[in-house]
Amino acid sequence: MTYITKPQLHHPGLAKNALGFTRRDYEGSVSTLCAGCGHDSISAAIIQAVYELELPPHKIAKLSGIGCSSKTPDYFLGASHGFNTVHGRMPSVLTGANLANKDLIYLGVSGDGDSASIGLGQFAHAMRRGVNMLYIVENNGVYGLTKGQFSATSDKGSKSKRGVVNHDAGIDLVGMALQLGATFVARSFSGDKDQLTPLIKAGLMHKGAAFIDCISPCVQFNNHDGSTKSFDYVREHNEAVNRLDVISPRAPIRVDYAPGETVRVQQHDGQVLSLHKLAELYNPNNRAQALGYLQARQARGQVVTGLLYVDPQSGDLHDALDTVATPLNELGEAELVPGAAALAKINAGLR
């Protein structure tokens, strides 16, 4: 929580990015989550991603709902404005913030309770509107803050720490995001930073609704035998379809993978997503195939990870509304107030 502040002094030898920021400059307060929580790994990946993208922290707005995951925006990007909103309603608040200022980068952080239960409606509508954002669900399949109840993403048949078996079908947010029209859909695992960090980078730079479902085991309540969201289960059943590198036009990043089939996807801003394919037949530009692949693997108990779908021609809500280039919150009287003369005309038409 924010009353625990970190020392501001940095080691003089810390590497700086092109903006002169060290990785530490992208950190936030000390996390108050449980030691070993997957969410903290995601926070670390966010910090790494923003540092590598060389984004000025104050140009990012981070928003969340309520829950363990929604507390995390306090623990990264301390120099960014943040908004811990109400339960399940982050998507609407983020949508409004985005409408007010199209020039900031919007990061929405949510959890499976926040997005798949109370917030399922808002999650759906933010995706279908194409709000320009990266929406990360830190998915642990359990209610951590209230000590271990099943969440809506808990798989049917999975067992709680107290031995109760979940009888409800689990909601797959990745499948939903694909159906709802999200233009960037990925799944990753908090324990796989090498896969997650580039996905966050790509998602942040994507124009339109980008969604990452990040499985994030709960060390307290959902990391036992019988859980389908435990570290062991996910490691054993993870089926990564690809490995991603983000090559920005400004600072190309060397691809470290061994030679294999690589798909290059150029985004609207010139950025190139270099996808190292692991699954032979997987095509990340086909929404329908992505859905089919996902469901087929799911039926076999596999958890597909990687960049599952990206639309390089994506647009966003501002495109749909055809708003002016200047952020709406910067418009002044001259642009907004039509004045007395226009009013006189309106009056004349009402007589």
Binding site: H58, G82, L104, L321, D322, E335
Partner: protein, 610 residues
Amino acid sequence: MPEQVKPRVNDFVVKFANVNGSGSASANGLFARSILRMGVPVAARNIFPSNIQGLPTWYEVRVTEAGHLGRRGGVDLMVAMNPQTWDKDLAEIETGGVLFYDSTKPMPASKFRDDITVVGVPLTAMCNERYQVPRERQLFKNVVYVGALAALLGIETATIQQLISEDFAGRQRLIDANFEALKMGHDYVTQNLEPLKLQVRRADRVGDRIYVEGNAAAALGAVYGGATVCAWYPITPSTSLAEAFTGYCADLRTDPETGQARYAIVQAEDEIASIGIVVGAGWNGARAFTATSGPGISLMTEFIGLSYFAEIPAVIFDVQRGGPSTGMPTRTQQADLLAAAYASHGDTKHPMLLPADPGECFEMGALAFDLADRLQTTIFVMLDLDIGMNEWLTAPFAWDDARKLDRGKVMTYEELEAGRDFGRYLDVDGDGIPYRTYPGVHPTKGAYFTRGTSRNPYARYSEEGSVYVDNMERLLRKFDSAKALMPAPIVRKAKRKTRDGAIYFGSSTGAMHEALEALEGQGRHLDALRVRGFPFAGEVFEFIAAHDRVFVVEQNRDAQLRTLIVTEGEVDPAKLVPVLHYDGTPITARFIAGEIATLMAVGSVIEAAE
């Protein structure tokens, strides 16, 4: 047929009884506007059902040279076009009044009254003879009766024709067809009937006033108030506010060079998302609003609490309808006052603006955005169906081009750069209002974490009791600062010194003023005060203190304004006598005058007995 008792010029009530979906609305509107064009004020009200087609609907037009824009009560001329409601409509006519009906089918004498004048025009027969297409028969029947009524009441044909020409400009075929139907009705009356003793006579009492719905006026106010983000969910009777905003923005807020929008309007998935979008936009420095009605307020309360506690500007136009629950969606009430004033769990209070007519809907619609930015909280603009969805005669909209949008206390890049201390919830000026920053303003200063949880003046999480209490006390100071910013109440002094007073607000105003005149005619004198904002100005309590008994007139069951006054001012409830009208129809002057006269008479009897 009995002799009509009282000849009446420019002072009577016409009520049209129609079937919903029969196309009567535009013809009835034409009737009202033609009288307005003759310089005679009208007050017209739709009384309509919550469905699309087939249920009874009424349109009441008060012709009032004296300019009484409230409802009077009673009907002098009933245009009975709906057989379903015949008996009820017939019963509503004042003794000596007039029934106008479609005489195509013969009616038994038992279906009439002998104390009224009955005027029959065979509308259906005339239309069936002239038109072949069923839809035309239906639609033109409405225009035929307007023509007949014009002849009966002395409304100038040329004036009606002028309006038809304006309405259908460029569509000559429609103009000709309407002219023909109009003439058909007019000719029938001149050839077969006598004019009524209810007459419209050209006057000069409308002046430069405009005729407009409150919802459209409020939407235009939002445009002038600098609103750029509107998120809404359709709900009667507020829908036309968001739609009017959409229309006005297309006309007034399109970048002339690029054709792009200087606004963003989202029809959200529900009311919760609507207010969420508004709060997000307000947090990020845009002026944002939603329009809704009571059920929407219920859904929005969690966010309203967040706006209060995290101090985020938001504007909500609440066009009130009959509650609770789904209630009476197409009927009017002033029954959301308490729900709005104290919306959300925990201790909260929210400023409210209480417009009395579309003119004030415009003014307060614009003012609300300055207040929201200044006070960094949700501002309610409390319309109701009567103001929102009916066209009212109102003073023309006015705007001072020198007026600046008041963006409130926003710390700038320069101030942050100069090292000015920024505490998001720090009361630096003693008025309870802190400074805020817009996200992204400065690379290293001014960022903070917004939350609905308790925090210290520097926006850091804190559950410390004293820190929490200090913050809650500051919010009270802020609410107190709001008093001076609200539109002041308006006092209307009685002609004689009196110990009796009346308090009223919103759409009751016209009927209230007329009732005060009637009471004065009976020798009953009351000072009156119109409340225009919450929190209440000190004048409200001074007014109460200066009177022995104050009638509080409102359109709800539970005397909600009275409750607010008692609660906020620690006023002795015994002093405040409720006068309540809440059947869903707009309050009438007769009702108010009758209730107050009775209560005053009873009061005098008790005093005499003592």
